[in-house]
Every structure is written in C-alpha cells, then in structure tokens.
Amino acid sequence: MTTPLLDVQDLRTVFDTKEGTVKAVDGVSFQLEAGETLGIVGESGCGKSVTALSIMRLQRPGRIVSGKVQLKGRDITKVSDAEMREIRGQEIAMIFQDPMTSMNPVLRVGFQIEEAMAAHRRFTGQQARDRVVPMLQRVRIPAAKERIKDFPHQFSGGMRQRAMIAMGVSNEPSLLIADEPTTALDVTVQASIIELLRDISRELRAAVILITHNMALVASLCNRVIVMYAGRIVEQGPTRAIFKNPQHPYTWSLLRSMPRMDEVGKERLVSIRGVPPDLGKLPTGCKFHPRCRFKVDRCLTEEPPLAEVDPEQLARCWVLMKNVPNPEMQS
C-alpha cells in the first residue's frame, strides 16, 4: 500500500475558554491522495476550519491535544517550529476566505507574492521576483506587469482572490487547502474562481481540501466529501454516493435544503430545525439528535461510531437513511 499524501489520524483540537475546554475538533480521521480533491462541509462552527488550521499548525490559541497528521509519512504535529515553517507555504498552502483582510493593506501585491516564494529555499530572491508576473498571469490577472505595483485595495474582490491563489501555489505545494474561497465573492465571480482552482490543482497534481458550506461547490469540484458536525465526522465517502444516497440525517437535510434544477416540482425544500450546537454544552448520545427527525431512543444515550454503510461510505448514525421508508413524509 502506498503511503497517502495526507493521513489525518484521530485529530483532536481544543480551545480553553472561560466556560471550560471546548472540543473544536474531536477525533477526525481521513486520508488524501495526490490529485484528489476532498470537500469538508458543515455549518459554521462545526470544526472544519479548525481542522484545516490544525493541519497547518496555525490553530492557536487552540491546542492540538492528540492525534497525528502524516504528510508523506511524516507526522507534522511533532516536527519543530522551524521545520513546520518550511512546510507552510511550500508543501502545504492555504487560501483563506476573505481576500481583502487576508492581504496586508500597506504592502504591494507583487511584494506579497514574492515574499511567499522568498521565504523558502526553493527559489532565490531573484528567481522569486521573476516568477511574480508569470504567476499573476497564470491566475489570469490582466496587465499583470503593471499590477504588481498596486495595493490590495486597488484590486477587485475576484482579482484579490486570484492573487491569493497565486500566493498559495507559487511554491507548487503538494497540498492546497482552500477555506471558503468563494464565500466572500459575488456569485458571478465565484464560478471563475472555482474553475481556476480546478485548473491549477490539476496542473500541479496537487491534493486539494476544499472547505465550504456550499454543497453545489462540492458537487462540481470534489472527488470525496466529509461532512462534519460538532467537531466530528458524521459522514464521508465519494461525492456521487453521498449526493445520491446520503445516509446521515444531517447530510440528507443539507441536500434537501438545496434547490435542484433537475428536480423542479418534485420535492419540497426542507429546513433543518434548531440552531447549531454550543460546543461547550453538547448533548449526550448522538450530537445531532436534538435536530434530527428520525431519531430513536438509542440516539439519546449512545453516540454511534463512524461505521461503514456501503463500500467506501461511512456514516455515524444508528438509524441510517436507507432504513427510513419515506423520509419526505416525516416533517
């Protein structure tokens, strides 16, 4: 068996707050191969961003309390700070949600991209400088040569995100993490950014982790999906399978709350009742049960394990949607 590019094993990250220790990531495990795109979906606060930050070891003020993150066989939760800094931006790159605040407003865009390369040993200072314009051109920013002297506020939202992507891929990383890359952008611009991400990741043969709450994005970009809730994985599997046959009630509700072009007139839109859970005051048993339409008694007392329901598809549920006869009728 070849070693996967990324192997996350039982990752746990907590935050110490006045009200106690909050488990933001509570036992997350998954693997990723080169060239794969993995989507992590869930509501705000479910732990998807913290998972990504933990992989980069940027989770402060949180703490990684246990688990392993193996990058090409090496556990990066245990490497020194200096080594981690080499990995960041070079082996693993991250693109953040809001490009306006994610770039330093007083430094020129060209400089910030150059910096990303110059920080590592792969390119010399001069090489880094020479690569800036080609990088910007690659992310399809027009008039790149003049633009490198501009400041972030002079770029439009979409262009800023492209520049962020350029920054991210400038060192040709093996793993690219995109945290809600299109959420802060206009709908019209989103499609082009997604297309750009797809092209670049294909070109680099990089693995991509796409974090989003937008199921449509997942459908168009990802090979596999992980659904998170309250810091845990509640379902994971190939995108097609998940979309066709969601087994966890939460996944099912997420998909049902999305209008779909191919099913006009067929189903009602259904909202998920309740509010996202307070991670400091989680219920006993299955963490989703307070909002679940299909629960049984066991759900209130025992937390289900993440179990295989189909080849390659795992779900954390006692009931499983395949055992529910007419789910649309129950509301």
Partner: protein, 307 residues
C-alpha cells in the same frame, strides 16, 4: 411548484427540544453594565471615586467629625506641625490643618472637574449632532470652528483666559471646557455620520419624523455610549489641568484651598515640612489614577472589542 402554505413551520429558538442552548437576549445597556460589574479593578476604582465624591460633597460633615477644623482657620502658633495629633496630616505655614484643606480642596477640584465635563459634553454634543446631522455648509462651518479651537495650544488659551476672566470655580470650568469641547464635537459628529447611514434612520424619515425628534430620540441614544466613555476617560486629565492651573496661580486663589494651590509655595518648605509637598500631590495622583482606571473599565465595558 413550491407551495408556500405547505412549507414546514419554522421552529423558534427556545422550543422545548433537548440540547437547546439559546440564551435570553439582553439590552446593550444591561450587557455593558454586566461587563463593567465583572471588572474588579474598575469597580474598585469606581467605588473609590464615589467615596471621594461623597467626602467632597459632605466636606463640612467630614471635617467636623475628623478634624474639627475650619480650612481657612489660621493658627500661626501651630504652623509647620508634622502629622500627628490633633493635626492628622500636619499644618502649613499659616497653621491651617492639611487634612481639612485636602477635604475641602477635593470639593473644589471635583466640583470644577464635574462642571467642566458637563459643559464640554453639552456644547460638544450639540455641535457634533448639528454638524453631523445637517451636514454640508453647516458641517464645514462648525468643524472649522472646532479646528480652530483645537489648534490653539491649550495651555496658552488657559493662561489668556485665566488672566482675563478672574476665575472662580464656574469660569475655571468654562475655561477648561473651552478646549475640550472640540474633541467631543468631532467624536459625536463621527458617530452621527456612521449612524446616519443606517437604515432605521431612513425608515424613520420616510415616515415623516421631524428633525428634532429624530436627533433626540434616535441619534442621541446611539451617541451616548461614546459620550460616557469619553467623559470617564477625560476626567483624569481635567483634574490634572485644573490642579496645574491652580498651582500656577491662574485658577482658584487662596485662601480657598485646592489641591493645586496647596502646592504653590510648598517647595520652599520642603526641608522642614516635607508633608506639605507630598500629601496634596499624592491625593491628586490617587484621584486621577482611580478615575483613569474607572474610565478604562467603562470603555472596556461598552466596547470590549477595543481591548
């Protein structure tokens, strides 16, 4: 086709299912008050100020109980007595009891400071509200005037005015306020400008509300937190300015005691009567410290993001 009448019912928070963790909503003022109460240093400082204010207001009672002296009573025989009995904090060159003078001096200082705050807040808020709300030429005009007042070096203005208008507590407060109101006006104007954009203002106007009503009932309450914070933070500086003016002889004149003028001649008595220099200064320091700490606590309570 999506049938609106058949959409599932929206469940409101607070519904009786397990795991619901919604908290009751609190008003902005309640929340701020809670935050203030939780800040122990701030509370301690606030209590201290309250005590000082109490002593100042009830000065005659306190001095009657504590020291039995009149602040202007001279007893030349007893001059330069060190702290002890019956002069708890000693006497000055004219035999006047230091502690009593400190107590009465507090009245002067705190009184002038409060008056100053009231004056500069009133003038500053009015100008700020008008400038921010009406905008255009009125805004330009008023803000130029504010710029002028802010550009004059405060110290010079104080000196000029103190010399020209023989200062009693009221005129002194007016003089000090004449410099501070500009800052308040700018602050208020800024706040008004940002609130003005908000939709509820447009909505209120579209319903036909009159300007005055809009300003008083809608803008003013939104501006209050800023005012409270500015006032709490500014009191300390005002006390220091007042003391300095008194020290220079431009403020409250003897024989009325004030913490500042108790120090005017103290330098020459340092050797044999060091307490005359130390006590008034320490008193000023403690008062200003307490009010600064309280001011910081107030600011943190109203806008915790700034922390």
């Amino acid at each position: 086709m999506l049938d609106p009448t058949s959409l599932p019912e929206i469940e409101l928070p607070g519904s009786p299912f397990e795991g619901d963790t919604s908290r009751p909503a609190q008003s902005f003022w309640n929340e701020s008050w809670e935050r203030l109460r939780a800040n122990r240093i701030g509370v301690a400082a606030g209590v201290l100020i309250l005590i000082l204010a109490l002593i100042a207001i009830a000065a005659p009672i306190f001095s009657l109980v504590l020291t039995h002296f009149d602040p202007t009573r001279q007893h030349l025989i007893d001059n330069f007595r060190p702290p002890g009995h019956p002069y708890l904090l000693g006497t000055d060159e004219l035999g006047r009891d230091t502690l009593t003078r400190l107590i009465y001096g507090g009245r002067v200082t705190l009184g002038v400071a409060s008056l100053t705050v009231v004056l500069s807040l009133t003038l500053g808020t009015t100008v700020g509200l008008l400038a921010g709300y009406y905008g255009r030429w009125l805004d330009d005009l008023l803000m130029r005037i504010v710029d002028v007042f802010l550009a004059i070096p405060a110290i010079f203005l104080f000196i000029l005015m103190s010399i020209l208008f023989r200062p009693n507590a009221f005129t002194l407060a007016a003089i000090i306020a004449s410099v501070g109101w500009g800052g308040v006006a700018r602050l208020v104007r800024g706040e008004v400008l940002s609130v003005k954009q908000r939709d509820f203002i447009l909505a209120t106007r579209s319903v036909g509300a009159k300007d005055l009503r809009l300003i008083v009932r809608h803008l003013l309450p939104n501006v209050l937190p800023i005012l409270i914070v500015a006032a709490s933070l500014g009191v300390g500086q005002i006390i220091l300015i007042e003391a300095a003016l008194d020290f220079l002889g431009l403020g409250i004149q003897p024989p009325t005691p004030s913490w500042g003028n108790m120090l005017t001649n103290a330098e020459s008595y340092f050797f044999h009567s060091g307490w005359l220099v130390v006590f008034p200064g320490v008193t000023i320091f403690i008062t200003v410290l307490a009010s600064n700490l309280f001011g910081n606590a107030v600011r943190d309570a109203f806008d915790p993001r700034l922390k």
